[in-house]
Amino acid sequence: MSQLTFVFRSCPHTTSAGREGVDALLAASAYSEEISVIFLGDGVGHLLSMQNPSEIQSKDYAPMFKLFDLYDIEQVFVCQHSLQERGLDGAALLIQAQVLNVEAVQQQLGMATKILTF
């Protein structure tokens, strides 16, 4: 059971939530090794590779997700249903994430002790 669970469920770049969420996540990884990350709903957009946000004056923070390995953040999940809903099933993902069905996502959330959502 992870001590901390970070859920990403908002679109990248539309708001700063994802950017500030990954800041909080990487900072927390210095304090805890038991961290889970779940990409859900519009948050799955963070996992699409080959984005070019500088075109919209937005910071390209995708490289921060690539730091997960370095920061020992290994429990990374993505909701299959959310990918399918958006036609992203089978799309190239930025990082390795375990694809979970809705029940498995619910199970992960149910087991979490503390959750922050961005």
């Binding site: 500030e20 909080a24 922050l116």
Partner: protein, 134 residues
């Protein structure tokens, strides 16, 4: 009446001082948990929540002054009011130290609020019995 166990809390506030219900809900929750005998250790203001720490918001006369309410709550119950420094700098909530550091003429961090790093949020998550996000 059965004695309920007193818990330690931290709140995470992501909504601005005005424009969404998030911060007002957080304040009401803070008041409620203190009334129930729990301990509110800190409120961490993140994302647009840092605007709660601006000394320069002027609500209309007949409206609730949330920044003042946070200050009073913190004083009465020894609650730490922490604004995330990175989020605050981006949104124009500046302490005197940062104004000096960045060569700005003004600063506006309200009394009782303190700039903190994201490590404070992580510590709160790992230390308090409950952390509730608004």
């Amino acid at each position: 009446m059965s004695q309920t166990q007193s818990l330690t809390y931290s709140l995470v506030v992501n909504g601005s001082v005005y424009g969404s219900q998030s911060a007002r809900s957080a304040y009401q929750f803070a008041v409620a948990l203190l009334e129930k005998g729990h301990q509110l250790v800190s409120v961490f203001f993140y994302q647009d929540g840092v605007i709660n720490g601006s000394a320069l918001s002027v609500p209309a006369n007949d409206e609730f002054d949330l920044t003042k309410a946070w200050q009073a709550l913190a004083k009465e119950h020894q609650v730490r009011l922490e604004t995330c420094v990175a989020a605050a700098l981006r949104r124009g909530v500046i302490s005197q130290a940062e104004a000096d550091l960045h060569g700005l003429k003004q600063h506006n961090l309200a009394d009782g609020f303190h700039q903190a790093g994201l490590g404070s949020l992580a510590e709160a998550l790992l230390t308090q019995d409950r952390v509730v996000q608004f």
